[in-house]
Symmetry: C2
Subunit: 473 residues, 2 copies
Amino acid sequence: MTGTLDPALLDRFAAIVGERHALRDIAETAPYLTERRALFAGISPLVLRPGSVDEVSRIMQLATQTRTPIVPQGGNTGLVGAQMPDRSGGQVVLSLSRLNRIREIDTLSNTVTAEAGVVLEALHAAVDAADRLFPLSLGSQGSCEIGGNLSSNAGGTGVLAYGNARELCLGLEVVLPTGEVFDDLRKLKKDNTGYDLKNLFIGAEGTLGVITAAVLKLFARPKGREVAWVGLKSPQAALDLFGRATDQAGGSLTAFELISDMVLSFAVRHIADTHAPLQGEWPWHVLIEISSGRSAKDARTLMEEVLIAALEEEIAGDAVIASSLAQASAFWRLRESLSDSQRPEGGSIKHDISVPVASIPQFIERGAKAVAAVCPGARIACFGHMGDGNLHYNISQPVGMEAEAFLGLYPQMNKAVHDLVREMNGSISAEHGIGQMKRAELIATSQPIAIDLMRRMKAAFDPAGIMNPGKVI
Amino acid sequence: MTGTLDPALLDRFAAIVGERHALRDIAETAPYLTERRALFAGISPLVLRPGSVDEVSRIMQLATQTRTPIVPQGGNTGLVGAQMPDRSGGQVVLSLSRLNRIREIDTLSNTVTAEAGVVLEALHAAVDAADRLFPLSLGSQGSCEIGGNLSSNAGGTGVLAYGNARELCLGLEVVLPTGEVFDDLRKLKKDNTGYDLKNLFIGAEGTLGVITAAVLKLFARPKGREVAWVGLKSPQAALDLFGRATDQAGGSLTAFELISDMVLSFAVRHIADTHAPLQGEWPWHVLIEISSGRSAKDARTLMEEVLIAALEEEIAGDAVIASSLAQASAFWRLRESLSDSQRPEGGSIKHDISVPVASIPQFIERGAKAVAAVCPGARIACFGHMGDGNLHYNISQPVGMEAEAFLGLYPQMNKAVHDLVREMNGSISAEHGIGQMKRAELIATSQPIAIDLMRRMKAAFDPAGIMNPGKVI
């Protein structure tokens, strides 16, 4: 199955990395050609696994010479199909997974220089051993890779205090479509020498160049960390609690996750060894994490102050602070399991949206009406990073409905939710990116001038159009 | 003096803003055609002062039609000549100062939407009245404007805790060279919908488009703030103190300014009502600011803990905490006066550099040798934002030397300092930008591929080459 690519050309690519690292057998390429949710499946005659930046460079050189489309891939955990080739068989997959060296940990400048293929969890472990924190934290951290995290400007649960992947990156090494290496691996906190090239490659989903390494910021590990679970009567109460927690804890507020009772009930029902942290019934829940750079006691005191005030003012209905590391982990596991917990409930239509933080209660109220208008009885499994204005606004099918019938409403449901998002000046992709999934919608609904500028940028960086074609723009 | 521009064309431009706001008289245009240090003086037959985004748009439309070069200008405080037209008389100055409306302060989402011409100090006052903090803080804040701050990605003393102008901006409104308006005034903390256009315009010094408004982040005002002055024996001791203060105070460490005794002695000698905060003689000094979101007492306790530990461990030689707001202001005034204090000491050759924070002691040691090799007896007036790795590494002439003879060494001195910066993977423009001043050096000393990418970007956004030509790239 060589698709439209000449076998002699495939041999030339394979020669760069060595036959062992040039996968052509369907059994070997299969893991690179579909993804966990099986929404996107690609066809490709060749998966290249280079072992050095030089090999990446030579691959891109050959790709430019021969106009061969290249699809860069990291840990293959992306949710919008950016890492998947199309189904023509005419695109080569470039896996960065073997570029997995941590080149340097600098505890004085608080930086780590890591190659694109370093798995996020492995990076955590390495900097942990150096008594530092790299705060990017995602559900997929056991398999996602740094290059993919940067290419998709990954978010996750640490954004509130530390920012997205973008904010955590000081410098990049990028192989351009021509094979030229742009070495911008700087450790500088301030550098105003010309246009910001770094931020262009971050979030470009491999359409402008191939990120091969990065300098990332490290932080002191918190000396204390407390996790609490709060029951509330409404999203407005959650917003009030967020305001209060920000006011009292400031930068020590390291997570503020909103969870609807609907999706919590799914998790408790379907995920082994989980139970609701609070006794009473609350329509909304918040997981709060407070971290202190000072001491364990300080984190505890802060958390108690926030919760006592919130309970006294009746912002919070009930609250429990995790009494052990094990319980804190259980709270977090519950939060991380929400996405999976929807599966046994049938068809699900997912949205990764953001609105201004202050608009969240209004969005939830209006969203419920919009969803019900498309499909009465649909169950809204809403949860997300409230402090960032980012909700995973997922819709599970009504009980008893055929999954297929429900999923047939995908376009209408999507449109209803995204129209509301746009009306409220929000984003239809807060953290997952555009990839294949939202490309048509991005192009159709953005300001024409924004699309025009993106296209000009794409043409300027990748005139031959070989970098991950069909993605983003 | 209409230079190469046709008077009829000038009339067409003037008609857009009205004669009153189209300055042609030399007495009226003069303030726009030179800057405070008189390093850059331009010639222009016309300074336009539009009063609306629509007028800016029509100006750019006409400029594109007629291929007229436009030089955007904010508060005219830039230090590298980016805001100055050349001396051909063929460029029109576009002052954004009349676009000075604060469109909205949103205390729930913690954002302010301000037009380009809002003076930084006026913005401070407005958000202060809403009980919020906008942490960008510069020596020139009484006259610099938000549009210029963003176009130059301004730094200043608040970067350590809050980041550069870039990090403080959530959304932009930009008029493109064609006159099209790119409205990206979002309040979103997370938005992964395509290429990062915002960060391209930030720091582009008006060469890609005209920033007309921005959404900026606001923060809670600290409840307590303490300022201390510390005497130390070496830059290494200052680095150790920085490590300790970061460890103990974390995000509450809001300033860490390094000051050499040489430049402090200039200030005490020449600036009215200043005196050295400490009795003894110390070769190096640090101004520390700690802010607490919790309470005044908390800031005090933190500062005391940091200083007591540093004194006990003999990292710090001596230290004094400002005992009143007046004394805290005096410490800051001393810091802010350092740049001016060099003038009475004769000729000065200035550098705005950054290196990785951990390399600062080594840079200072090697820099002294490099400077002495070019000009024995030259006095190094070194100070800056140590926590950001950013030093204003200014060289005052030897006592008794002719200023002109010293300034004749400018190219050699510059080269000696910048060569060292490059060798240490630093930046030759940490916060002031490139403008006219460092353009040739940027082009000559950067990786060719970086320059190539910047040129492609410039050509993609400004194909007619009318946006602030001769700047940056």
